[in-house]
Symmetry: C2
Subunit: 206 residues, 2 copies
């Protein structure tokens, strides 16, 4: 039987997260407010306070949920790729970019919004899992056979910057004379390059 919402809504916390995701998908970051989420969940404007620590709490919970979708998107693209190391890493990055483009509201929440409590435990765990997908995809390109932060951060920075520049400057193709290269081409510059470059910097590799 369908749940007749009791006046004790029953599962408000989940309903609010769901409503928030919906609002975010429909109208972007500015469309998600506490009061609107409450209204959509069918409760009064002050009800969310009993389940989340203010707006920040709701946004944080939604972000943790969004990280799962983010990870899934990367994994889905990886699984759909050819079974080579390069294709898998390219796939993960394409998942990254696809999520940024298709779920830009969530992507904004994950990496941009200043109203998210980034020290939240659940959020950090979820983001760690997402980062792990990228790490795993980078592993085959580590010269030492173990995780190499240099490649990981290089790839992560580049895909992240590529996503945000394309996201925040949607007219950049017009503004720039040149055509924007595909990400795969840029990625090759990182992974194809052996680490032997004689870097003149006095850095200790300990």
């Amino acid at each position: 039987m369908t749940k007749e919402l009791p006046h004790h809504h029953g599962n408000l916390r989940e309903a609010l997260i769901h409503a928030g995701l919906q609002l975010l998908a429909e109208g972007g970051p500015s469309a998600l407010t506490l009061r609107r989420a409450a209204a959509r969940a069918g409760v009064s404007h002050a009800a969310p306070a009993h389940h989340f620590d203010g707006l920040t709490g709701l946004l944080t919970a939604i972000a943790a949920r969004a990280y799962q979708a983010f990870s899934s998107q990367m994994i889905r693209h990886r699984e759909a790729a050819e079974p080579t190391d390069v294709a898998r890493l390219v796939g993960v990055c394409q998942g990254y970019l696809a999520f940024a483009k298709e779920d830009s509201g969530l992507f904004h929440l994950l990496f941009v919004s200043s109203d998210v409590a980034r020290e939240d435990a659940a959020l950090m765990q979820a983001s760690g899992l997402a980062y792990q997908v990228l790490r795993d995809a980078c592993l085959p390109f580590s010269p030492l056979g173990q995780p190499d932060p240099e490649i990981e951060i290089a790839v992560w920075s580049m895909v992240h910057g590529y996503a945000l520049l394309g996201l925040n400057l949607p007219d950049s193709p017009k503004r720039m004379i040149v055509q924007i290269p595909e990400f795969e081409v840029l990625l090759k510059r990182i992974i194809a390059n052996p680490v032997e470059t004689p870097l003149a910097l006095d850095r200790d590799i300990s």
Copy 2:
């Protein structure tokens, strides 16, 4: 003689931009509101409407101003660098990162805030000039001797992503087991790599 502010403030537009920059530097993005900027400029809360198209207009004008400081920061670091092509590009990127770190409020406005009218003519001109600094620094690494969007976008994406990840995840050094490599090391991966890589996607590197 000191200007006795006439009831016709005289130069309110400039005063509002100045007040906005001040608020942004003091309390971050959330501290900058139309009413506060108006109060600090010594006018009533509705006065800004005659000089800017709402809050978006003020933020856009401030962003255009901030792009000049951003360009200056990159140029300053470039001039302070050794007179080699590599050092100059590294310098420009360090200027990029220094601006993101030291003037994070402005950086947020330039690349993150959704309340900026990015199609604004003055803003696009200012951002174009900033991008040109990066382009120029990349030019020596173009194999054909003319601007190469592949290198430009690769460098821009990576420095941008590096800045934003470090900016939005201030605790990432703790969260990650590994230490974050210096940006210069990552940069070398892009510029040291000749473009000759056969970019057949279905190639495994093994």
